[in-house]
Every structure is written in structure tokens, then in C-alpha cells.
Amino acid sequence: MYSLRRFASKHSKAYEVVYKFVEPPILASLTWLNKVAGDRFDKPITWMEKHTKGALFDCQMCGNCVLSKTGMTCPMNCPKTIRNGPCGGVRANGNCEVKPEMKCVWVEAWGGASKMRNPQEIELVQFAVDRSHQGSSAWIRLAKERDKEKQDRKQAAIAEDVS
């Protein structure tokens, strides 16, 4: 929803705090769920992610979530789906070149980022979206990636102990 999405960019700091707070338990339960049940719950989890993030941020389920790096503003709402915006077409009033009635997503993003604890995150180069992830859950992917990193670290530590 447009108004909720704009609210999120405006109150990015509060959202960031909540995000930092809820992220670890969500990821931990997803990792656990994945271990005990495999991908049996992937569908309902994806459904839940789609509807919560959809309502709050107008999430488009690109599957490559960068919300925390873009001032809690989903860049997939930019008509050009730019990941390193804004483009050069922003109107003098800060509205979008393509949709004149909408605030430029990236003007909101830079505004949102400036209020966050890590305002520099938005300055990092983000490579284009991996379109093969469209429609899939970014949460599940992140949980799996984090778990894999953890396992890899463990393996490396064991290898070091042995040698």
C-alpha cells in the first residue's frame, strides 16, 4: 500500500530497530524448520512473507531483498527497477519521471537511509536483481545462506584443529 510504504521510508529508523529485533528469531526458526521439515513449509512461509512485506513495503517478491540497505524503501517499486538510484529524471518536486503522481522511490530511499543507524549502506553498489529468484522467499534464502556460512566456518575450524 502506497501510504504504508511511504510511512516506512519516513520512519525508517523505527523500522530498522524492529527489523534488527525480529530478524534473528525469524531466521533461527526458519533454519530450524528447514532442518526438521525440509522445504515442506516453503510455500506458506513465502505466502506469509509476500503478504506482510507486501502490505508494509509494497514488496514485489523479487527474492533479493535489500530493504535494510535502501532506507526501508523497496526499489522494485521504481518503474525502472533501478538498484542504484535515482535516475536522472526525477522531477523538481521529487516525484517520479514515469509516474508523476508518485514520489520517486529513490528520493524516499535516500531520505530513509539518512535516518538509519547505517546510513552508508545505501552507498554500496548493488548489482542488478537475479531475476530467477522472482517470487521466491528472500527469508528462506537468507536463512539457508547464513546456515551454510555457519557450517562452513565450523568445517574450517575443525580442519584447522586437525591440522
Partner: protein, 345 residues
């Protein structure tokens, strides 16, 4: 029939070696093109752009390029600018490279996905193109085919990353190896004049980090904004890493200026310029005078390496304006001397 003729009679010119094919490789240079040489040699460079024709006439491309002879170091070939359909920029650049010009291939992310774009970079480099300008591009809704599907698979920053990956790592984004990497000088554009103005320099830094070695800007009619951005760019060390060429333009009349700023996204023209045009007896001449002054002012700004002149529908005045501005310090930009436009002789 007009024919490009190879002519190497200008022996005393430092950039004349072997036009039509890349110059010999040089230490510290990423490309073998003349544009990069001019910049790295510390000259103030001038670039301009041609609108590719709505035609299959190659001579028309040469005719349009010849208008800039002597005044322009590199010519941008726009890629469906304003989302309007024209001859492809790859083809225009191939034609121009063939007779020794140093074209800048504009690639807009609007019409092609990463597969097509990487193919175009290879193809263009194979035909002698040495400079690429990465653009996100205007939306299809602003052009003559609003019903087309916008692609935007990449954005300008991702495109810069792509060029750098191909050139430096000699591979496609997929990881598949290239037998011979494209040695192209990479650039992108900035628009410091529209919101969020404060963040625009950070975005410039992002582009430089992603691989931009030269930057051309959108129309600059507001020197104060440019100066303050350039100051920050110099402080951040960005001008050591990339050559910055602000864009200047000619306005045919106050009416054109008003129309441009209210209809073309991203064009910022202060009221003072509009008023000056309105007060002039000959508005077109005044517009050119403003352009000349802007060039001179741009040259004075610390960290600026050149100027990009956009003279849409006034291309025939570019040489005159560059000469009048004196920004080339008496230097003559290289141009092929052999091409004869038989249609005019």
C-alpha cells in the same frame, strides 16, 4: 556515392596514427581510443552528440559527424534517446570508427537485457569502438513507442560493473571466459541538478566505484549547483579517478527553454536564463552566447576535464561555439580529412 577515404597526411598531429583502427596500446590506458588519450594527456576535451538518423543512409551519419570536425574529440551516438526509435548506436559507432572518429557508444538499459548488452559490447569493440557510456535510459512512455515493453534488466551502475567485469576479468557475467576482452573506456552520466541534490555526489562516487572512468552530465544551466557538487567531488578524490565533463546546451528561444524544463524529465533551467532569453532581441543567438559562456565557466571549475556540448537541431553551430569559447586553447580536435561529401561538392 560518398566514400570514406583513408588519409594520413596530417603527420604532425599527435593522435593521427592509424585512424580507422585502434591506436597502439599505451601504458596506463584502458582503451586504444583517441578520446582517452586526449583526456589522459591533460587536454580539456570537448564531446558532442549526434542523433542517429531515421534512415539506412550511412552518408547521413558521416555528414552529421563532419559538422563537428576540428572542435570535438569524441562523438556520442545516442541509443534511442527519449525512447524514440532511430538507427542503432552500435551501427553509428561502427561507421564512425571505420573512418577514424572516436565515437562514444551509448547503451541504454531500457531496450536490452544483459545477454544482448554484453553481445553488443563485444560486437562494438570488434568494430573498433573504444568508448562506452552506460545509461539507465528514459522510460518507454516518453517516446514514440509507449506500448513497448521496458526491459531495465540492468541499471547504469550494474552496466558499469558488467563492462568492468568483461574488460578486467575477461569473462561474461555468467563466468564464461572471453577469448579476447573488450578494451573499452567506460563512462556514465550524472544529473546533479535534480533531487535528491545532496546525494548526487554520493551517487557519482558509486558510479566511479563501479567502474566509470569518465562522466558526462545532464544539461547544466545552474553553475552554483555544479560548483558545489564539483567541490565535494574534488574533496572526495573522485576527480582523480574519473574525468568529468559537464553538459552544456543551446536553447533556441525562451519558449523552448520553458517547454524543455516542463516536459523533459531531468532538465533544470533557472528563471534567470529564461529571462535573459526573453529579453534578447535575437533569442537564438543569445542562446548560443549563453552556451559559449557556460563552456568558459565550466572550464574554470576545479576538477573538470572537459565539456559535453548538446546542440540538438543546432549541431551546425557547435564548431563555431567551441571556437568562440576558446576552451580548446588553440588545439584542433582530430578529424578524418579524407571523407568527401560528394552530395555537397
Amino acid at each position: 556515392m560518398n566514400k570514406p577515404i583513408d588519409n594520413h597526411d596530417n603527420e604532425h598531429h599527435p593522435y593521427v596514427d592509424n585512424p580507422g583502427s585502434p591506436l597502439p596500446p599505451k601504458e596506463g590506458h584502458v582503451s586504444q581510443g583517441r578520446f582517452e588519450r586526449v583526456l589522459r594527456d591533460g587536454h580539456f576535451a570537448v564531446t558532442s552528440e549526434i542523433a542517429p538518423p531515421d534512415s539506412v543512409d550511412a552518408d547521413e551519419v558521416y555528414r552529421r559527424a563532419a559538422l563537428f570536425d576540428g572542435a570535438v574529440d569524441a562523438i556520442n551516438a545516442t541509443d534511442g534517446s527519449g525512447a524514440n526509435c532511430h538507427m542503432s548506436s552500435v551501427a553509428v559507432c561502427a561507421l564512425l570508427s571505420h573512418i577514424g572518429y572516436s565515437p562514444i557508444l551509448q547503451i541504454s538499459c531500457r531496450d536490452k537485457n544483459r545477454i544482448a548488452i554484453q553481445g553488443d559490447i563485444l560486437g562494438a569493440a570488434a568494430m573498433g569502438v573504444c568508448n562506452v557510456l552506460a545509461l539507465t535510459g528514459d522510460d518507454v512512455s516518453s517516446g514514440d513507442h509507449p506500448e513497448a515493453k521496458p526491459v531495465f534488466d540492468l541499471d547504469s551502475v550494474s552496466l558499469l560493473t558488467t563492462i568492468k567485469t568483461m574488460r578486467e576479468e575477461s569473462r561474461f557475467l555468467s563466468g564464461r571466459k572471453l577469448d579476447l576482452a573488450p578494451k573499452v573506456f567506460a563512462g556514465s552520466s550524472i544529473n546533479p541538478f535534480v533531487p535528491p541534490i545532496e546525494s548526487r555526489v554520493l551517487q557519482l562516487r558509486k558510479k566511479v566505484e563501479a567502474g566509470a572512468e569518465f562522466i558526462q552530465s545532464q544539461y547544466c544551466f545552474d553553475m552554483d549547483i555544479l560548483k558545489s557538487m564539483m567541490k565535494r567531488a574534488v574533496d572526495m578524490g573522485l576527480t582523480e579517478k574519473a574525468f568529468i565533463l559537464p553538459g552544456v546546451g543551446t536553447l533556441a528561444s525562451a519558449k523552448t527553454a520553458k517547454w524543455l524544463r516542463s516536459n523533459v524529465p531531468g532538465v533544470h533551467i533557472p528563471d534567470s536564463i529564461v529571462k535573459r532569453l526573453e529579453g534578447a532581441e535575437k533569442q537564438k543567438a543569445e542562446g548560443q552566447k549563453i552556451c559559449v559562456e557556460l563552456m568558459q565557466q565550466v572550464k574554470e571549475i576545479e576538477g573538470v576535464s572537459g565539456v559535453h556540448v548538446m546542440a540538438y537541431r543546432q549541431e551546425e553551430f557547435v564548431t563555431e561555439m567551441v571556437d568562440a569559447s576558446g576552451v580548446l586553447d588553440g588545439r584542433k580536435a582530430w578529424a578524418p580529412t579524407g571523407w568527401v561529401d560528394t552530395a555537397r561538392t
